[in-house]
Structures are given as structure tokens and as C-alpha cells.
């Protein structure tokens, strides 16, 4: 206020001095405002570090944005067979990606030629993408191209071609400086005009990208599908070996954090490994791809010929290694369009069932071991009286053991089992591995059941002698029990993964003498007199046993006569090299031996035994050691 009073006063030298003083203060005023500002800055500088950037602190954010995470994908391991043939592998493929916003329309005819697709289709696909708001720059036009595909070559050539392309270019009109300034201070908000000259240029094609891709490939297609399984869209193994050994096959994706860092010498990336990259390991199976293929073809034919619901088979080497594990129906796993979970079911391991007459040799083996029978051809067993609810037939009043096996006679077997104790039966069946897991593929394996002997009724004991009643087993367990014939009464465990380091332990179940005797009897089953006559192959000694079991459908034995037919056999009889078990579910069309067009009731002898022969014939033909 004093300022105004003094300034309005008349001018004199004394007043001039006082005015001087005022200017003095005014200069000081500006100076102190500046000093205050500096104090504010000092406060801000010191507190800036405590600021929060959204959720995290400012410093953390700084460190975070200086770091990059790099993912490296693990390679999936291959699956090989015992001879290192590839059963599942990764195929390097290419895919073609278009950027519809970049591809010049003048190039579309040439591009469609190169891609080997109709021009209209390509045009439509591009226009459809362009009409969308999101993902306009990404059009996957071809995928899963093999490296040898001619499309790749075409594209390479196309990319070198140049054609003249004319387009109108929108150029903004130049602004006068005055308008620019007006716009700068926001007085003029009028938009700039455009002019559109036509510009022609020679150009190469734009917006075509080739990208790498990989696909799981199964060279043996459907023959191994239920055993190997497949991978899903997320490249995780589902079903079979792929699913069971997923952690081993898939490996571990690597994750590395790159921290951008800088010293006075230079800038660099400081890598910190978060997850170490571990590629998937290869898995070598005991499977023999050739044996597998022949068996698969035979089972496939048998299922189609007999109109069975399904068929499965397993082939073992004498030391317990699985040479083939076949299931039908099966799909080609390379075909991603068809998918039916039932077709990836490994019936060999995951179905438990009553093995039927194929168990009879073991009843006789036990009786022979316990000296209840001699199994000599002159020892006759009375089959004229009924035992339990099993009634005698009019044809045979008494038979020797050879005949019992040849004709697969139930009453004869029951007669023999009458001489054995329940405990001995249970112990032997237990030693044969029934009701116990095989440990091959725990996630899908159904290890069946064997009830404890003190719960058995008499009828149970009778039924057990011909493979029904208190036991259920999967096909692999059944085939494994036949290994006693190849190992002189010893039983090795089954192996699916080729691994030499594990020490083999076998359990002795029967004596060498008894197994040799019964093997000889089984050899006569596959002769003109036996039920397995249709499994004979010229020039080879084959031993085996047919089996037919009532099928349990929905918890009860099927009234329509649904049968499950079996054949378990081994070649050659004296020193077996291949042990094979075949199973057909509900074959509906079977034929008599004397007329190939005459229909007959389906049994092990007229369905499964024939499949055995069809499979074994090419296997034996290619094996020079026998």
C-alpha cells in the first residue's frame, strides 16, 4: 500500500531514493521466490525415491523394465523301438503367414498360384480378415508344409519378382506458417486437407512370412497308436507312452532373465537363469516295429472278418520283453481331424477279463507238480459223472490229459482240480502274477483281481480251473503266465522300456520237468486232433491253447451269446522264441473249417487261433534264427 502512496507523490530527489528502495525490494522478492522454488526441488529430489509407481515402487519398476525374460522351448524326445526305428518324432514344418494389410492386391493372382489355391478363395480370405478389427495383420494361409513342399519353392521365387504397382497416395497439404502457429496455440482446429497423386513403382511382394513349426509325427501311424498315444494341442502327451512318460519326453522349458546393465565400459545383458532348459529324452521301447506291424495287420483283418467289437494281441520275447502290443480299432495319430478316445484305449493293459480255457494248462501243471496226475497218455480221468453243476457229455466217458487239453474239456479239468487244495491253487495263481500290477504303465493298467482262497466256494474253485470265477486278468498278465513254458518253469517280469541296467529276477513257479511235459501236450493242441488246429503253420512246432469266455456286458453274462475268444501260443515248442496272446471281443461271424462260407458259433478255435496264425506266419518267415 505504501508503494502506491509514494509513487503518487510529486517527484523529488528524496522520493527518488525511496523509490529506489522499493525496486530494491522488488528484486529481492523475485530472488526469494526463486530460492523457495529451489527448496521445493530439493525436497522433491530427496523424496522421489519413495514414490510409488502404481502398485510397485518406482525403483522396482525401473529394475523390472530393464529386464527381459527369454523362454527357450525344450525339444520333445523321440520314441524308438528296440532296433532304433523311429516310432514318434518331431517333424520340422513351415507355415505361411500373410499380413493382409500389406499384401498388394496386384500380387494376389501370382500369390494364389504360388500357394496353389484358387484366386477367389485367397481374395475372400484376405477381405474377410481386413473387415475385422482385431488380428487384421495375421492370416495363417497354409500350415504344416513339409520342407520339400513345392509351395515353399514357389514363394521363394515370388519374393524376387518385381511388378509395377500404382496406388494413390494421400499427402497432407502444406500449412502456411501462420496457420501452423494458430494450430499450435489451439486457435485453429481445422483439419488439414489432402491431395491424392497417383504414384507408380516397381515393388516386390510385401507381407508374406514363412515361419517354422514342428509337428509330432508317428511314422508307423495306426499300428502303434493305442500304445504310443498322442500329444494334444498344447503339446502335452495324452494316452499311452506319450502320456505316461510325459515328464521324461517333454523335458523342461528354460527361462532366462536378461538384465540390461551398463558400466562405463559398455552395455551388456546380465543373464540370470531361472529355469534351466532341459531337452526331452528319447525313450527306447522293447517293441519290434516289424513284429508289431504284422500282428496289427493280422488283428485288423481278424476283427474285420469276424465283425468283432475289438481285437488285441501281445507278443512277448522269452525274457519278458514286449515285442508287440496291438489294439484295434485304432486311428492314425498323424491325422488331427479324427479323434475318438476309444481308439486310443490300450485294451491289452486296461481291460480285465476272465481268461477262460487258456488257464487250463496251469491247472494241469500244478496237478502234475503236486504228483496228483502223471499226464501220461495211459492215465485216464473219469468224465462220466457230474461234478457240481458241470454235467458230463455223451461223447467222452474218460479221457487222458492230452485229450482234455486238445478238446478243452471242462469236466476233465474240474476232475483234476478236485485233487488240489484251494491254498495251492491260490499260491500258484498268485506266483503267476494274477491280481498284481505289472508296473508297465501304471496310469492305464488294470491289474485284475484274484480273490483270497478262503472266500472261494466250491463252484469258484471249479470255475477257476478253466479260467473263470474268482480271478480276472488283463491280456498282458495272461501272456506273461505262459512265459513259464519258455523259461523252464521260471517267470520273468514284463518289460516295455529297453533298459539293460536292471538285474533280472525270476520266480520259480513250476518244475522244469512238468512244464516240458505240459508244453508237449500243448503242442498237440495245435495239431489236427486239437482245438487249435487252425493255428498250425507248416514247418514250425507251435504250442498253444484256445479259449472262449462268456462276456460280461453291463455286469451280467450276455444273453445273446457274446463271447470273448482267446488264443495263447508259443513258437517253437521246445525253445520258445515268441509268446503271443490274442483276444477278440464279440466276434459275430465265424465259419466252419470244412466250408469257408458256412457260419458257425464263434470260439477260440475258429477266430482267435486264425488271427494267431496270420500274425505269426510273417513273423516267423522274417526270423532266420528259427
Amino acid at each position: 500500500m505504501s508503494t502506491q502512496q509514494t509513487t503518487k507523490a510529486p517527484r523529488s530527489s528524496s522520493i527518488f531514493l525511496s523509490r529506489m528502495q522499493n525496486y530494491w525490494y522488488r528484486q529481492g522478492f523475485v530472488k526469494y521466490i526463486f530460492m523457495l522454488l529451489i527448496l521445493g526441488f530439493i525436497f522433491r529430489i530427496i523424496t522421489i525415491h519413495a514414490l510409488d509407481a502404481g502398485v510397485i515402487s518406482l525403483q522396482e519398476k525401473g529394475n523390472k523394465q530393464a529386464a527381459y525374460t527369454v523362454q527357450s522351448k525344450a525339444r520333445r524326445g523321440n520314441i524308438l523301438d528296440r532296433n532304433n526305428q523311429v516310432l514318434a518324432s518331431n517333424l520340422i514344418l513351415k507355415k505361411v503367414n500373410l499380413d493382409p494389410t500389406q499384401v498388394q492386391s496386384a500380387f494376389i493372382p501370382k500369390l494364389s498360384q504360388a500357394l496353389r489355391m484358387p484366386e477367389t478363395e485367397l481374395r475372400q480370405a484376405i477381405e474377410k480378415k481386413l473387415a475385422k478389427k482385431a488380428g487384421r495383420k495375421y492370416l495363417l494361409i497354409k500350415k504344416n508344409l513339409r520342407l520339400t513342399d513345392p509351395i515353399l519353392d514357389n514363394l521363394k521365387k515370388l519374393k524376387q519378382q518385381k511388378i509395377k504397382i500404382c496406388k494413390t497416395k494421400s499427402i497432407k497439404n502444406k500449412l502456411s506458417l501462420f496457420d501452423k502457429a494458430l494450430q499450435f496455440i489451439k486457435l485453429n482446429t481445422q483439419q488439414r486437407g489432402h491431395h491424392n497423386p497417383k504414384i507408380c513403382q516397381k515393388e516386390t511382394i510385401k507381407g508374406v512370412a514363412l515361419q517354422s513349426d514342428s509337428q509330432r509325427y508317428y511314422p508307423k501311424s495306426a499300428s502303434l497308436a493305442p500304445l504310443l498315444g498322442r500329444i494334444n494341442r498344447n503339446r502335452q502327451g495324452v494316452f499311452g507312452i506319450e502320456g505316461e512318460f510325459e515328464p521324461v519326453l517333454a523335458g523342461k522349458n528354460g527361462k532366462t532373465q536378461l538384465n540390461f546393465d551398463q558400466t562405463s565400459v559398455g552395455s551388456y545383458f546380465n543373464p540370470v537363469v531361472i529355469n534351466k532348459l532341459k531337452h526331452g529324452q528319447n525313450i527306447v521301447l522293447t517293441i519290434d516295429a516289424n513284429v508289431q506291424f504284422y500282428t496289427y495287420e493280422a488283428i485288423k483283418q481278424a476283427v474285420e472278418k469276424h465283425q468283432a467289437d475289438s481285437g488285441s494281441a501281445i507278443v512277448l520275447a522269452p525274457n519278458g520283453e514286449i515285442l508287440a502290443m496291438v489294439n484295434y480299432p485304432a486311428d492314425d495319430p498323424n491325422n488331427k481331424r479324427t479323434y475318438d478316445a476309444q481308439h486310443y484305449r490300450n485294451r491289452v493293459l486296461s481291460d480285465k477279463l476272465e481268461p477262460g480255457s487258456t488257464m487250463k494248462p496251469f491247472t494241469l501243471l500244478l496237478a502234475l507238480d503236486k504228483n496228483k496226475i502223471t499226464a501220461a497218455d495211459n492215465e485216464y480221468i473219469d468224465t462220466s459223472k457230474p461234478i457240481g453243476h458241470i454235467k458230463p457229455d455223451s461223447k467222452y466217458k474218460q479221457m487222458n490229459t492230452r485229450k482234455i487239453l486238445q478238446k478243452s474239456h471242462n469236466l476233465g479239468t474240474v476232475n483234476i482240480v478236485e485233487r488240489l487244495s484251494k491254498e495251492d491253487l491260490y499260491n500258484t495263481w498268485h506266483k503267476l502274477g494274477f491280481g498284481q500290477p505289472l508296473g508297465l504303465m501304471p496310469s492305464i493298467e488294470n491289474s485284475g483281481s484274484l480273490k483270497y482262497f478262503n472266500t472261494w466256494s466250491l463252484a469258484d474253485k471249479h470255475a477257476l480251473s478253466f479260467g473263470h470265477g474268482p480271478m480276472e486278468a488283463n491280456l498282458a498278465q495272461l501272456a506273461r503266465s505262459y512265459l513259464v513254458f519258455a523259461n523252464a518253469g521260471n517267470l520273468p517280469s514284463l518289460k516295455l522300456i529297453k533298459n539293460t541296467s536292471i538285474n533280472e529276477t525270476t520266480t520259480r513257479v513250476f518244475s522244469q520237468r512238468s512244464t516240458a511235459k505240459i508244453a508237449q501236450l500243448l503242442d498237440s493242441v495245435v495239431s489236427d486232433e486239437g482245438s487249435g488246429y487252425r493255428a498250425q503253420i507248416k514247418g514250425y512246432n507251435i504250442a498253444g491253447k484256445t479259449g472262449t469266455a462268456e462276456m460280461v456286458v453291463d455286469g451280467v453274462y450276455n444273453k445273446d451269446g457274446a463271447k470273448r475268444t482267446f488264443f495263447v501260443g508259443f513258437v517253437p515248442t521246445q525253445k520258445p522264441k515268441y509268446i503271443m496272446a490274442v483276444r477278440l471281443d464279440y466276434p459275430k461271424k465265424c465259419y466252419t473249417a470244412w466250408d469257408a462260407t458256412l457260419k458257425s458259433k464263434c470260439q477260440g478255435s475258429n477266430s482267435a487261433a486264425m488271427a494267431f496264425k496270420d500274425a505269426m506266419k510273417p513273423i516267423l518267415a522274417t526270423d532266420e534264427s528259427i
Binding site: T7, W24, I38, I45, I48, L51, Q59, G62, L177, A181
Partner: protein, 377 residues
């Protein structure tokens, strides 16, 4: 033209200025490394520093009366150069969408930097010549505004917003110090402010654009406009107390645009930490504070012209450093303001050195013997 005062320049002030120049040389080099990755800009800036310092030392020999005498010519020349910028390409030079440079082949000259100094020299003379009018009526105020407008329109056309603001406010603050009626000054400023407020208030888009920076949470705002501010803050936070070490900052590489010009203070914060920032702040405070004192000392001796010039230079420096540092500390939206003496740029550096040399000369004249003082203005 040349005249000796018989005094040496103030040692502390001179040392501080030289230290700050060398410090800026090294820091702007470190910041520019990411963009140019060569010594070219280091050498170029070195050349400007040598040129600026040699001009500065010659100015110490020239009495302030010389500048008073030729200030009108100086101002006129600046106006002409400002207008020359608009000539087509070989003479005028355009970069980043704005025309601010005259092409001298070897380097590009920015007349708006020269205008800042010319305006101060001219304004000081004008305020003394028109003292009666300035202190008496609105007429003086009107004349001042006319002078300011003549350069402001040109700088506005160059879309050099920073220079316009600095020149205008420096001129107005000099007017304030020269004893214009506070009432009238307030009325004028209030009128301009009200007009601006009305202009902005009734247009939500404009007001939003203007106040968006303070209204929204910086870290929830994803727009490009605040990206630079965010990165500057992150850089300063990375530095902490002692910094990552000279040349060891990483923000300048990809994240922070304009690291060697507008954002050099943030780079100092990252590489030299709070200590480095405080050092720069104290240097500027010392130089500017000392400058204000020299201006008042001159007024005490009755040498108004020198006093006004010293005050003008100081308020220019205060504003430019204040706005630049506020920008870097995330207190203001980013607009093109450089940090004097430190940011890369030839014209800005040379005229800053000249301006500081004037202050040193005024101080020397203040301390000269009474005989000599008679001739000084």
C-alpha cells in the same frame, strides 16, 4: 570499445560457472552416447564451449555502456534473424516439425536463444529511457507489451513455446522490477489470465489437455505424452543416493527420449544420484543468487541499466532452470526447455555464457574505483 576496470572477475562465481560448463560437457556427452555412439557430439560441444568461453572473456573487457548504446541494433538484428528462419530450405532449417534454425553449414544457429539476451539488453535500456511513462501510466505498460509481442509472435510462429514464455515473462518481470504500478501490472496480467481461463474453461477438450497432467494418476496414464515423465522418474529412482556411476545409466538407451537436451537432469539423477542433482542445483542457486546480489549492488551505485540487465539475466536463468528441473522431476508436463550450460546445444550454450559474462563484468564495474564508476551505466 574495450575498456579495463582494473578489477579481476569474482573468483568463486567464475569457478562455479566453469565447473558447471565442464560438468555439463561430460554429462551431455554421456547422455548423447546412446543416440550417437561416437565422439562427434563431444567434440562439437567442446568447440562450442571454447568458442563461448573466448567470447565471454572478451565481453569482460567491454563496458556495459557499449551494450546500452547498441542494444536497439542488437534487438533489431535478433528480430531480423528470427524472421530469416522462415526462408526456404538452404537458409532456414526444419527439424521435428518446427523451424527454429538458420543453417550456417558448420552449425545451426537458433536466433530465439539470441533473442532472449537481446530482449533483456533492449528492455533494460527501454525501461530507463521511458522511466516516466513506465512508472506513471498504462501507456508504458502498453509499449512494453508491444515490444514483447514483436518477438513473441515470431517465436510463436516458430512453434518455440519455451522461448516465447521465457522472453515474455522475463520482460514482464523486468517491468515489475523497474517500478511499474503493481495495480496496473496486476490488472494486465489478470486480464490476460481471465481471457485465457475463459478460452480454456468453456472447452472441455482444451482444459482436459491442459490439466490432464496433474489430474490423472501418472502411472495409470498410458498416453505417450507422459511416457517421458515416467521414464525420467524411473531413471532418477534407479540412481538413488550415489547413482549408477558416470556413463552407467540405462534409461538413455531406449526408454528416455531427448536424454542429452531436455532430459539431461534425469540422466544426472540416474548416473550421479541425489548427490549429483543437488550439486547441480546448488551451483545454479549460487550463480543465480550471486547474480541477483550483483544486480542489487549495481542499483546501490545508481547504475540502473547494469542492475536491470543483471536482474533480467538472472530471472531468465531462474525460470529456465526452474521449469526444466520441474519437468525432469515430474512436476510439469514436458515442453521443450533446455537446462542452460548443461544441455547439448551450441546457440543456447554460447548465449548463456555471454549472459553470465555480462554479470561478471557488472560485478567488476561495481568494484571499480570511483573515477571509473562515473562512466558506467
Amino acid at each position: 570499445m574495450f575498456e579495463k576496470t582494473g578489477q579481476y572477475p569474482n573468483k568463486n562465481l567464475l569457478t562455479t560457472i566453469l565447473v558447471l560448463i565442464i560438468f555439463g560437457w561430460i554429462l551431455s556427452f554421456s547422455a548423447s552416447l546412446a543416440h550417437f555412439n561416437s565422439y562427434a557430439y563431444f567434440i562439437k560441444q567442446g568447440f562450442f564451449i571454447i568458442l563461448g568461453i573466448s567470447i565471454g572473456f572478451s565481453i569482460l573487457k567491454i563496458p556495459i555502456s557499449f551494450f546500452k548504446k547498441y542494444s536497439v541494433w542488437f534487438f533489431g538484428l535478433s528480430l531480423v534473424l528470427l524472421a530469416l528462419v522462415f526462408l526456404p530450405s538452404p537458409i532456414g532449417h526444419e527439424a521435428n516439425g518446427s523451424r527454429r534454425w538458420i543453417n550456417f553449414v558448420v552449425f545451426k544457429f537458433q536466433p530465439s536463444e539470441m533473442m532472449k539476451l537481446a530482449m533483456i539488453l533492449f528492455m533494460a535500456g527501454f525501461l530507463i529511457r521511458q522511466e516516466k511513462q513506465v512508472t506513471n501510466s498504462l501507456k508504458g505498460l502498453g509499449k512494453t507489451l508491444l515490444i514483447v509481442a514483436s518477438s513473441a509472435i515470431l517465436t510463436m510462429l516458430e512453434t518455440d513455446f519455451g522461448a516465447t514464455i521465457i522472453i515474455t515473462i522475463t520482460a514482464l518481470s523486468m517491468l515489475f522490477v523497474a517500478g511499474t504500478f503493481i495495480k496496473e501490472l496486476i490488472i494486465t496480467i489478470a486480464t490476460i489470465l481471465i481471457a485465457a481461463v475463459v478460452y480454456i474453461w468453456f472447452d472441455s477438450v482444451r482444459s482436459k489437455r491442459l490439466f490432464e497432467f496433474w489430474q490423472t494418476n501418472l502411472w495409470l496414464n498410458d498416453s505417450d505424452k507422459v511416457h517421458q515423465t515416467k521414464q525420467a522418474l524411473i531413471g532418477i529412482a534407479r540412481g538413488d543416493w550415489s547413482g549408477t556411476g558416470l556413463g552407467a545409466g540405462i534409461q538413455k538407451y531406449t526408454k528416455l527420449p531427448e536424454p542429452h537436451t531436455d532430459m539431461v537432469f534425469a540422466i544426472i539423477g540416474e548416473e550421479l544420484g541425489i548427490i549429483g542433482m543437488l550439486f547441480v542445483l546448488f551451483c545454479f542457486t549460487y550463480i543465480i543468487g550471486k547474480g541477483f546480489d550483483i544486480g542489487r549492488e549495481a542499483l546501490k551505485h545508481g547504475r540502473k541499466y547494469s542492475s536491470y540487465v543483471a536482474f533480467g539475466v538472472c530471472s531468465w536463468f531462474a525460470m529456465q532452470t526452474g521449469v526444466n528441473i520441474a519437468m525432469n522431476l515430474g512436476l510439469m508436463p514436458i515442453k521443450g526447455f533446455t537446462l542452460p550450460l548443461i544441455s547439448y546445444g551450441g546457440s543456447s550454450l554460447i548465449f548463456s555464457i555471454i549472459a553470465l559474462a555480462l554479470i561478471l563484468r557488472i560485478d567488476m564495474e561495481n568494484r571499480a574505483t570511483y573515477n571509473k564508476q562515473q562512466n558506467y551505466v
